[in-house]
């Protein structure tokens, strides 16, 4: 496209009913590479100058920062653009999780007081000892790593379909 050709296409910028001609794409390329035409075009329609708005040369550091930020967001939660709140229902889930964590923290004390009623506690001592007790059988035992350690307590609370299991190493002295 020559320096003259693009001028006849300018009418399309001033009439919304005219379809944008395919040649306009080539006119854009010409304007981008021809400073004198670009000046002339901007004099006719100043908004044409915005086609050359500066680019942000985002380098490798910027990309790496995005990658790390996305990874962190995936692990720790999420933010919304503009700092708005988290996804709907997240607060309720977080409150439930906090309540559940508090319940777990209180559980050892409850266990000590109501061991016979709600909770089965078993001291696992693989080497034998004064409070030697059989390892709990079934999926709970097999699903928890570290049950073969010499000192550990296992607390289980709940029914068959939903239960809470807590394993406490006796070295923690709780």
């Amino acid at each position: 496209m020559s320096c003259r050709d693009w001028r006849r296409l300018l009418a399309h910028r001033f009439d919304p009913e005219l379809p944008v001609p395919r040649e306009w794409e080539r006119a854009r390329e010409h304007l981008a590479g021809c400073p004198s035409c670009r000046r002339e075009a901007a004099a006719i329609d100043p908004t044409l100058a915005f086609q050359g708005a500066a680019a942000w040369p985002a380098g490798g550091e910027e990309v790496e920062a995005v990658r790390l930020a996305v990874r962190a967001l995936r692990r720790t939660g999420r933010l919304r653009a503009g700092g708005a709140g988290a996804r709907p229902g997240a607060r309720r889930r977080m409150a439930f999780a906090a309540f559940f964590a508090a319940l777990l923290a209180m559980l050892p004390a409850v266990v000590d007081r109501h061991a016979g009623e709600l909770v089965r506690a078993a001291a696992v001592r693989s080497g034998g000892g004064e409070r030697a007790a059989p390892r709990p059988a079934g999926p709970v035992a097999s699903a928890i790593d570290g049950l073969d350690r010499p000192l550990a307590r296992i607390y289980e609370w709940g029914a068959e379909d939903l239960s809470v299991v807590m394993v406490v190493d006796e070295s923690l002295d709780v």
Partner: protein, 216 residues
Amino acid sequence: MKSPTLVHSSTRERVRLSELSDRDLLLALAAGDEPALDELIARKSGALLQLAWRLVGDREEARDIVQLTFLRAWEHRLRYDERFSPNTWLYRIATNLGIDLLRSRGARQRQLEPVRSHFVRLADSRRSSVGELEDREVTAILHELAGALSERQRAVFVLREVEGLASAEVADVLGCQPSTVRNHLFAARKILRRELAARYPEYAVGRGPESGKAAP
């Protein structure tokens, strides 16, 4: 003795992913391939940062938008529609986030405009048209004037005029008809010409095709 078997190699994995097309990369993402997300970030961050920056005019906010774009791409990876090009899908997420941010910005942005105007006016006043300004000055003026546009007008103008997407692509990104894109674009140009004449009369020397100089 049997030699050890290589089970996993990060380098080989990166090479394999780098050879995939954008579309195949998104399909790998849909299959839960986490390294595919890293590859997608490496390929698309630059273009998305640029789009977001041109849309919202602030680098920090542009970074936030791009991070959230990839996060959403990962969370909604199963919703990727193969009818759309990968770029269109990512641009759509980023543009919607940008529009949300512009809407939430509202009055706060308008309060900042006089401050921006002061800095932009530091541009060399000896130049007779906006076409003679340096790119960064043009960009600063665009960011200032774009405050007069609605969020969708702004998105259409940036995608079509600044990023150079075709009208059909812009329509796909915004989820509207091409005729709507044309109307938004026409309105955006009109508003920008008016705002430029009001705020920067020294640069707004637009004569339009009716002057006879550019008649088809």
